[in-house]
């Protein structure tokens, strides 16, 4: 069952990501393929027993970030600024990336041997309570810094996107 789920979700994620890159006509098709990829990745996280991270992936990525992308695409289309011109797909870049990918594959293969495959973890691994406790005891500085970063991001976005009043 888990094997079947893994294959289905992986293929969906890969198909979605190829759809993001390969959709030349319309950026909204790319955005929808991105949603499919995000949801498939969330499924993979839950398969890896990272329940909290999987839920946050759905809530934040699929539910807010891609909505923001779609919102901006619709806003810009309404203004009639038109789509990008000819999308060039130079074969050289694709071939180069493929070479790098294949060599990375062999490197990974070499590096990932000599460990027990899946150690048993206690049932509270990846639950909200465990991650919450870790975040607020060991990593509380990171949480505070993330708060400041979010505030800076909100201010930056509001200031950048405001219309000039001159």
């Amino acid at each position: 069952m888990r094997t079947a789920l893994f294959w289905i979700l992986s293929v969906a994620a890969l198909a979605g990501s190829i759809g993001v890159v390969g959709n030349v006509r319309n950026p909204i098709n790319s955005a929808l393929n991105l949603v499919v990829t995000m949801l498939a990745l969330a499924g993979l996280y839950v398969l890896l027993e990272a329940q909290f991270v999987g839920l946050i992936q759905v809530m934040v990525y699929a539910g807010a970030i891609v909505v923001l992308f779609l919102f901006v695409i619709m806003l810009l289309n309404l203004r009639g600024s038109g789509t990008a011109g000819a999308e060039v797909q130079p074969l050289v870049k694709i071939a180069g990336t493929a070479v790098v990918a294949i060599s990375a594959f062999f490197l990974l293969r070499v590096l990932s041997t000599g460990r027990a495959p899946w150690p048993d973890v206690d049932p509270s691994y990846g639950t909200t309570r465990a991650i919450g406790e870790a975040l607020y005891t060991d990593y509380v500085l990171a949480v505070q810094v993330a708060g400041v970063l979010l505030l800076a991001g909100i201010l930056a976005a509001v200031v950048l996107a405001k219309k000039r009043l001159d």
Binding site: Q51, V58, A64, T127
Partner: protein
Amino acid sequence: MATSTVFVALFIFALVVLVFAPIMTWVERKQSALMQDRIGANRASIGGIKALGLIHPLADVIKMITKEDTMPTGAHPFIHLVSPFIAVTPAMISFAVIPYGGTYDLWGAHFSLVVADLDYGVLYLFAIGSIATYGSMLAGWAGNNNWGMLGSIRVSAQMISYEVALGVTVIGLFMIFGTLRLTEMGMLQQETFRVFGFMEYLGWVEPGTRWIDWITLPMWGIVLQPLPFFMFLTAMMAENKRAPFDTPEGESEIVAGYFIEYSGMKFGLYMMGEWIEVVIISALLTAMFLGGWTLPWLPEERLIAFLSPSFGANIANLLAMLLAVGVFLGKVIVLIFFQMLVRWSMPRFRYDQVMNLGWKILLPLSLANIVLTAVGILVVKGVTGR
């Protein structure tokens, strides 16, 4: 365990989709008619039997199924086809975590009245709620219509703004209950606390006074956090695009907004999704704030222990289960009634008023509520150690 899950899922489907949704359309028409001092829809009849207008939901369904299914030129065919389903699916799968009752032992089978007792139950609902944005947003864009696009932009802005308020509002409740699991929240709400207990700790009366022990209140969410109840209700109604927040489907402003290019059963699917979400809102509020499936001051173990000697353990469990489901549905119906009351009493908000309410009023209030709740918990813990 698996069979009980299937039963509960089928029960929910049969009840909500097949019974509640059509009856709610009838209730809305009759209730609004009563409030507005008119008769309401009463023309549909089968063979001369009018049945107070209850034939109308059937007539509506027949009308929607037999209407022509149009697709405008220049529309994106796949997204136009798929958006109604994207809108309805999150509403339906939200029912998976809502508990209709606790766990009962019936003739050896351990029956649990919830489809999926997830450890992170409420987070699942928020995640599904954020997916629901797509159904409405893509609908307006897929129709290749300017009014539709405007409706899409409005609806996506409104929904993502109120998601924030939705999440932050209930954090205080999670801090008090200490769990995200809805069944556990239902169990915790069965306890009672003494209202005037603080007098004993402050030394105003001697310990052991009788009358203090008699005045108790159940630990319902609404008693512990009254303001977040109303804030959550408001945020959920805005998230559901339900009046008075139905600017995106503004029937008199932008000609039905984002469902302008939908006819027939696809439009019916959007309407059905909205009604199912009304039931979800009521069910969620009941489970978290109004005590779930129990009556106040009557914990379930006491009831089962009370009934067991006279009826036997199995029948006592069965009676308790039926009472639980009945109480839950009763509370849900009261909240549905309340939501329809609000819809027909208030005029539609303007778009900037909607955004104002979401960002400038709900969010600061809910953040202040978190701080106050934290202070309250520390005080109570310090005094009683509980």
